[in-house]
């Protein structure tokens, strides 16, 4: 039964990783915009929701407002700053690092350096008994479901709307994409907004699972990067599988080889990528 609980925990943590990574698969995988501020948007979402919740007491309202506001901030960043740097990966790195430094510092001045712990939504507190002996928090179980649903939604959206293909076309060859009438700026704006909205959404849930402080942004960002890249850029199923794999790897690594806890994620990831340099389901870059 111990292994069952380990598996469930691994899946739950993997689900959180997927929530965080889902936004990145879009901005990073699809738009190939290197958004190192993703962790910062995660924090903004979490902090805003927490702040609103403290003020209003309404969990769901806070969630929605926080996600929307963060998306708007993200869109502003895209429109005013990032958009000038389409397909220029290196400046994008600097820019988004800069943005996340600024956001991190604003959060620090506004909310202080101590961690905050956003609430668990009503009905999901406490734990449940599985198979008699395994105690598992309801919130974690819910996260697993949430991740699966979100993955399905994103996949369906990418499949049934042509927006994903349009974004990729602009990444392939922006000039030509424009000449067939694709409104590249508009699409990038919307898609980036969606990416930051997902980051904020993950921040609200991730905050409730763990906690938030101005420096968690980096830890979260690194894990999400691992998931997106191991899964294969732009592949939502890949990211989902990678998230679960990393979650399980982390869980079992920490149980079985606690001495090597700092390796249990990164060393296998390095090995994996050495042998599969395009990730799990990533497409081989053509040309």
């Amino acid at each position: 039964m111990v292994w069952l609980s380990n598996v469930l925990n691994g899946l739950a943590f993997g689900s959180l990783l997927f929530l965080v990574a889902s936004g990145l698969t879009i901005t990073f995988g699809l738009m190939r915009t290197i958004n190192l501020a993703h962790g910062a948007f995660y924090l903004v979402g979490g902090y805003l929701a927490f702040d609103l919740y403290v003020r209003t007491g309404s969990y769901w309202l806070s969630l929605v407002v926080a996600v929307v506001v963060t998306a708007v901030i993200g869109m502003l960043v895209e429109r005013l700053l990032l958009h000038r740097l389409l397909n220029q990966e290196l400046p994008q790195i600097i820019l988004t690092v800069g943005v996340s430094l600024m956001i991190g510092d604003l959060l620090l001045t506004q909310y202080g350096g101590s961690p905050i712990s956003p609430p668990t939504p009503a009905g999901l507190e406490g734990s449940m008994q599985l198979f008699g002996s395994v105690i598992f928090p309801k919130f974690r179980a819910f996260l697993i479901v949430l991740a699966l649903v979100l993955a399905a939604l994103i996949m369906a959206f990418l499949r049934f709307s042509s927006i994903g293909a349009k974004v990729r076309s602009a990444v392939d060859d922006q000039e030509i994409a424009r000449t067939i009438g694709i409104r590249v700026p508009l699409i990038f704006l919307l898609v980036f907004g969606a990416g930051t909205a997902l980051a904020a959404f993950a921040g609200v849930w991730g905050g409730a699972l763990t906690s938030l402080s101005p420096d968690t942004g980096l830890d979260v960002l690194l894990l999400a990067l691992v998931v997106v890249v191991v899964g294969g850029l732009g592949s939502v199923p890949g990211a989902l599988i990678a998230a679960f794999a990393v979650g399980l790897l982390d869980q079992f690594g920490k149980v079985l080889f606690p001495e090597w806890s700092l390796f249990t994620i990164y060393a296998p990831v390095a090995l994996f990528l050495a042998f599969r340099p395009n990730g799990l389901l990533g497409k081989v870059e053509s040309r």
Binding site: S162, A165, K166, R168, S169, V171, D172, D173, E175, I176, A177, R178, T179, I180, G181, I182, R183, V184, K283, E285, S286, R287
Partner: protein, 253 residues
């Protein structure tokens, strides 16, 4: 339809187009010939809005477009077949069509109609375009522009790398385009292919139009000068391919 009026275009500090002017009338197909590096693609890109002219005006369907973004121009009814296999490599053939296709009227091209001309694409329907053979990519570039259903088609060396049979299909497609009322600016190296189906032909050299011939002249097969200007003698010019001839004749380049 299209009016290019003394346009100057630069790459950084080097000027490529020097007061270039030309026009394409309603329903007209105009050929543009010239040696490598003379600015043909630069001109095409200037018209499509990918390059901004530093001087001069481009007018399309009565609107000044030289300051418009490329996607605006495209939506006004201009489509481009770019040179050099610029398809979207990570998109499948199907997706390449899907994102380009735009319906404006009942005489529109559908993907199915296009595939009549280029059946090879049908077999590679869900393969990423980057994995197509060179010729298939060229067909895709053409097909993609066709389903855009523009009023004016900019064709930048559309036959490059095509086998003779497909070159023929390409010609038929262009003829059909014209029949449906689409105007075209056809940049080509295949002289015969071009002269067969254009109303007028121009030669671009060092960013300027140095020669122009109209339909009657073409019909009279009075194209010696033109051929001489681009460095081809007329002797072996039957099926649009080139002949072995003395290259020193060319005054161009």
């Amino acid at each position: 339809m299209l009016e290019i009026d003394s346009v100057d275009t630069y790459y950084g500090s080097s000027q490529i187009l020097h007061g270039t002017s030309l026009s394409v009338g309603e329903g007209e197909v105009v050929g543009l010939l010239g040696r490598n590096g003379m600015g043909k693609s630069t001109l095409v890109h200037t018209v499509a809005g990918l390059l901004k002219p530093r001087r001069g005006q481009v007018t399309f369907r009565g609107r000044r477009i030289s300051s418009l973004a490329a996607e605006r121009i495209s939506r006004l009814g201009m489509s481009l077949v770019p040179q050099g296999h610029r398809i979207f490599p990570s998109l499948t053939v199907r997706e390449n069509f899907r994102i380009a296709s735009r319906r404006v009227g009942d005489r529109d091209w559908t993907a199915d109609e296009v595939l009549e001309y280029f059946p090879a694409l049908r077999e590679r329907w869900s393969v990423p375009a980057g994995k197509l053979s060179g010729g298939q990519q060229q067909m895709l570039a053409m097909g993609r522009a066709m389903v855009c259903n523009g009023k004016l088609m900019l064709l930048d060396e559309p036959t490059e790398g095509l086998d003779p049979q497909t070159v023929g299909r390409m010609g038929e497609a262009i003829d059909e385009l014209r029949r449906r009322g689409t105007s075209a600016l056809l940049v080509e190296q295949k002289v015969g292919f071009t002269l067969e189906r254009v109303d007028r032909a121009l030669i671009l050299s060092r960013g300027q139009v140095i020669y122009e011939t109209d339909r009657p002249q073409l019909l009279r097969a009075d194209t010696q000068t033109l051929r001489r200007l681009i460095g081809v003698s007329s002797a072996h010019e039957a099926d649009g391919s080139r002949a072995i001839a003395d290259e020193n004749e060319s005054p161009v380049g």
